[in-house]
């Protein structure tokens, strides 16, 4: 068994080595923030994507052809991502592209890829308009609203907390989460007692902490990224607020726990990656990522890894570099990945379960899974 597996992979490697000397590599475009404020997420996403490409190449590439990731730094800015998308389409002539970036950059690039008829997969950007660019655009992560609804079910249903204060990051990520949360709040008997907004550059939440203390909520639903949520949660706890803090995939990084320290304990989030998953796919990803990156896996890494995996599966299934065949293959894909079983609806939105994780003893751990298909239904248009 072991020997035959070894032989197959050796033959595949040989075939690939022989093939790649002659054949052009299969080029997959990848726009990702490697400098600027989102560089940390960008670095993780890049590691995740590279890992998926290495794994796919080791397993024989696309029907024998080697995969090459064409990487550009978009600084999470639409100003950068638009020319990058044009370059990927015209100069690099990629067969497909993936966004390892935030919503602003991804949304702007999506239009270019759609016009050019090049399939584009957003790994973790949340803005609903991204897939609305057209039928060549897909997303392997949840739109903000879906995750916001999951947050409402988690707080009102699972945890049974009814008086909730919202602390909302004032960008498309935070706003769409809050919108989804409010949408489903009534269904779970949640009363939103107050909502505060903050900007992405804010790290000092003293005034909000003081006000939330006087609001006396049963739980706090706070959107943000690890670099805002880390300081926020540590300041909430240092300010003596003890009620549960519920976050989302933006928190999903070991770095959040490093920043908030012991204050992070008990923080619950909705996300895509289950650290304690029994699924072989997820376990293998977590181990391989730690080995490659030298730090623990996070949501953006898993999402980028997933997006590349979906792309590779579609390229294999399409069996050609015909962009419309590749698009159709993605639309029909059903792929086992580190973030679950991935398939898409008519708009190109992913259908999968929401993983709930909690910080315990300085690490993310399994809390529960939300798999309510009606609640988690992504937009269809």
């Amino acid at each position: 068994m072991k020997i035959s597996a070894f032989l197959t992979s050796a033959v595949a490697a040989l075939a690939m080595a022989g093939g790649s000397a002659l054949a052009e590599p299969v080029k997959i475009g990848f726009n990702v923030p490697l400098t600027g404020f989102a560089a940390a997420d960008g670095k993780s996403a890049l590691n995740g994507a590279e890992l998926a490409v290495e794994q796919a190449n080791a397993a024989g590439g696309i029907n024998g052809d080697r995969i090459e990731l064409v990487i550009y730094d978009d600084q999470a800015s639409p100003k950068e991502s638009v020319p990058i998308a044009q370059k990927l389409v015209e100069k690099d002539q990629v067969v497909l592209a993936i966004s390892g970036s935030y919503s602003g950059a991804t949304r702007a690039a999506a239009g270019i890829f759609q016009e050019s008829g090049v399939p584009y997969i957003s790994a973790y950007a949340v803005h609903p308009d991204i897939t609305r660019a057209g039928d060549y655009v897909f997303r392997t992560s949840f739109v903000g609203q879906v995750q916001g609804r999951a947050g409402a079910k988690l707080i009102g249903g699972t945890l049974g907390k009814k008086k909730v204060a919202l602390i909302t990051l004032k960008n498309d990520f935070g706003k769409s989460l809050a919108a989804g949360f409010r949408e489903a709040a009534g269904k779970y008997g949640i009363e939103v007692v107050a909502e505060y907004e903050y900007g992405i550059k804010d790290r000092q939440f003293g005034p909000i902490v003081s006000k939330v203390k006087s609001d006396k909520p049963d739980a706090i639903y706070a959107s943000g990224y690890f670099f805002t949520a880390g300081p926020l949660v540590s300041q909430l706890r240092a300010g003596g607020i003890k009620v549960p803090v519920i976050g989302q995939e933006g928190y999903d990084s070991q770095k959040f726990i490093e920043i908030a320290g012991t204050a992070a304990e008990g923080t619950i989030i909705t996300t895509s990656l289950d650290r304690d998953s029994p699924a072989a796919e997820t376990k293998a990803f977590i181990a391989a990522f730690e080995k490659k990156a030298g730090h623990k896996a996070d949501m953006v890494a898993a999402s980028a890894h997933t997006a590349v995996k979906v792309a590779v599966a579609a390229l294999k299934a399409a069996g050609s570099s015909d962009r419309s065949a590749i698009r159709d293959a993605i639309a029909k894909a059903k792929v086992e990945a580190s973030t679950g079983t991935i398939s898409f609806n008519g708009l190109g939105e992913v259908r999968k379960d929401v993983q709930v994780q909690v910080v315990k003893d300085g690490n993310w751990h399994h809390h529960s899974v939300i798999s309510d298909a009606a609640l988690l239904a992504p937009p269809e248009k």
């Binding site: 940390a40 240092a238 920043i259």
Partner: protein
């Protein structure tokens, strides 16, 4: 009680703004340069605070190291970047300063990584009861106390010592001061050392309150400190302190009561516009 808490939060934030903006005002007062790269020195201070604390376990030692090293770095910055440009129009130095600041963010990222750094064991995270029912976090108390100590020290230096008097003389009339035998070059170095060391202290305090230093942590101070010194009346030290405190308090209330309308940073600039409409010379600036 809530209002009092918000007010104190504003003072905490204002103290940090004051430490940062003071260096900027000192440089402007002496050289008429808008020293945007000052925010890079603030970031450097934050990084040194975390690194030295993690290595030695002593926050106090880290504050001293950060202030001295960043003070020297400020002097080096003057020597290498500004001195060669002194006889050019001030906007040349401003452009150089902006360039240095942008480059510094990427240098921090390349050296220390994109994820930022945190204290291994964050010091001063607890809180204490200041009076009945009113709690203050240790880190916030330190921010206020350290600012008061440093700024009083500066006031003492500038009014009670020969060096300080020479310094003030140079600011008000460089040629006259030189004629009286003041070594202008020394004054400029001292100016950069003190201003940069204060920014470093602010960096350490911010690192303490957030338990996070990042390559881009200087981006907000880089322009907000400019707003503060304009607000205070360019080059006026007392005006800068007043503006910093006022802005801290206004932001604290604004975040809660205007947060849905205006961003925290927008509040600062709305306040700036309002003040400049009523007092074009700034809060304590002299009308020209």
């Amino acid at each position: 009680m809530l209002y009092l808490e918000l007010f104190i939060q504003g003072i905490v934030q204002g103290s940090i703004y004051a430490l940062i903006a003071l260096g900027l005002t000192l440089v402007y007062g002496l050289l008429r340069i808008l020293h945007v790269a000052h925010a890079a020195l603030f970031t450097l201070g934050g990084y040194l605070g975390v690194i030295v604390t993690n290595a030695t376990g002593s926050l106090a030692f880290a504050v001293v190291v950060a202030m001295v090293v960043v003070g020297l770095a400020g002097m080096g910055l003057y020597k290498l970047a500004y001195e060669p440009l002194l006889d050019r129009p001030p906007y040349i130095a401003l452009i150089a300063s902006i360039g240095l600041f942008i480059a510094s963010e990427e240098i921090f990222r390349l050296i220390f990584g994109p994820y930022g750094l945190s204290y291994a064991e964050a010091p001063l995270q607890g809180q204490f009861e200041l009076f009945a029912g009113f709690f203050l976090k240790h880190g916030e108390a330190l921010a206020i106390v350290l600012s008061v100590v440093l700024l009083s020290g500066l006031a003492w230096l500038s009014t009670r010592t020969r060096t300080g008097i020479a310094w003030r003389a140079t600011v008000s009339d460089p040629e006259m001061a030189e004629a009286f035998g003041v070594d202008i070059q020394k004054v400029r170095y001292l100016n950069f050392f003190i201003g940069s060391a204060l920014a470093a202290a602010a960096g350490v305090l911010v690192a303490l309150l957030n338990n996070l230093v990042e390559p881009t942590m200087g981006s907000v101070p880089s322009y907000k400190a400019l707003a503060i010194i304009v607000l205070g009346g360019l080059g006026s030290i007392r005006g800068t302190l007043l503006a910093a405190m006022a802005l801290g308090v206004i932001e604290a209330f604004g975040t809660i009561y205007l947060g849905h309308l205006l961003d925290r940073d927008a509040i600062a600039f709305a306040f700036l516009i309002l003040v400049l409409m009523l007092r074009p010379q700034g809060l304590l600036g002299k009308a020209s």
